[in-house]
Symmetry: C2
Subunit: 232 residues, 2 copies
DNA sequence: CGCGGCTTTGATGTTCATCAAGTAAAGTGG
DNA sequence: CCACTTTACTTGATGAACATCAAAGCCGCG
């Protein structure tokens, strides 16, 4: 969309260049730039479905997304909720040719898409880039695994406290924020029932730990929340 | 240990060459061969502890290992139980310089260790190899994530049925096998209490689904087991 | 303004962890 | 090799944690 400087492509000055593409030459960057798409998605939109063919390698440039798996009965398991600048193409991109999980936008988002074949070519040509990509992909997977370990060893109250901390600390960097997900989605994320997520919110509210106004959450007593999160 | 053919290094004929190293030249393979170690571990031995410095990239050549995280109170969370030829260095190898999880041998095992710096050099020099490595690392991570999703949406009986299927189908390829782990470790793997793992075994036994003689398990009615695994 | 989805709360019962007590098995040191 | 210790396994009883169900209020959207 940008064309202020017609001799330079937008990717050259992209903030994300530092992320993975620092080892690429200007020539390579321009080559990517000619082909890649920045695709905007509105809140709620599906970015891709599990089973879709992988054509693009995707990373999140703006917004917030959830990665999830649908069960046959319609239930969802939410695998991760992430901010830029995560690679939102999960690992299978290189493995199988089909997405294993679905991806949708929790807030208006912008996804940068690069043809997967182009990425592969660059890895083959440029080992520095390959090494950097391995590191970044590893971090993404590791984050999911580590978070899952955190969640699975906690009890109900501990899990709710953990996600509230997560949204506050890692996602919004604020004690007040609008939850980007429904109560049900929180339940799907931390493997508990919707009713009990709500019940726990109510208890936290009663105990003066948080305040809720619809989807707006205010964390009043962060210390208490941390205690519950650690104990649970 | 082998030196039957003194002009050829063992790695050239290693079964695992196909795995990741097919794209390497004979020269590269020999270079690896000069430096790498095959380290044997007895059942029960620790291969490395979380927090240990990463020097080697490791993959499992023989045996069976578990990857796990220790809690402050001594509890363990088991992340994966895998056979050859998995990469048992988890992703953090490239990320942090320290292992995030511990690794120990469930059966007598042989681990092939290659200096991590050497792997990095090879990725830089040889893009084909880098691409192959990305694919393999991705598969390893993806397996952990997928298995976790399988486990977490099941109830108690479903989880036990799932691990029995897993050991039978993926690990031992047999309906009769010696469990390589204690009841307690199974509990740590599927996030339930030891007592309930045992209780569920007893119920399966009572219902004619399995037989147990200490750690030896015989699956009698695989169909019923699958039904329980799917329903749960 | 009425419908459907999200939220909330209470009541109920199931599932599961915990505790306790006992047995079997596997190390350990003399 | 045996007494001793420790660890793994097993079962029952109990209560806590949690899911499920149901009913009602709320909110946004057509």
């Amino acid at each position: 969309m940008e064309s202020s400087d017609k001799n330079k492509c937008a990717c050259l000055s992209c903030d994300l260049r530092d992320l993975a593409f620092s080892s690429l030459t200007e020539g390579d960057i321009e080559k990517i730039c000619k082909e890649n798409h920045e695709v905007p998605y509105a809140r709620g939109e599906i970015i891709h479905n599990e089973g879709d063919k992988v054509t693009y390698f995707k990373y999140l440039k703006q917004g917030l997304v959830k990665m999830f798996k649908k069960a046959s009965n319609g239930d969802e398991q939410i695998i991760s909720i992430t901010r830029p600048f995560e690679f939102v193409s999960n690992s299978c991109v290189f493995t199988e040719g089909y997405y294993r999980y679905s991806l949708s936008a929790l807030e208006d988002s912008v996804v940068c898409c690069i043809r997967i074949e182009q990425i592969k070519e660059m890895v083959e040509k440029n080992g520095q880039f390959g090494l950097r990509l391995i590191t970044l992909l590893s971090q993404t997977s590791e984050k999911i695994i580590a978070q899952d370990l955190e969640i699975r060893h906690r009890n109900l109250a501990g899990r709710v406290a953990y996600v509230l901390e997560y949204f506050s600390r890692d996602i919004y960097h604020s004690k007040v924020f609008d939850l980007p997900v429904s109560r049900r989605e929180i339940a799907d994320f931390i493997s508990m029932s919707t009713a009990n997520v709500i019940r726990t919110f109510s208890e936290f509210k009663r105990d003066g730990i948080i305040n809720t106004y619809g989807r707006t959450i205010e964390i009043i007593d962060m210390e208490k929340l941390e205690v519950i999160s650690k104990r649970g």
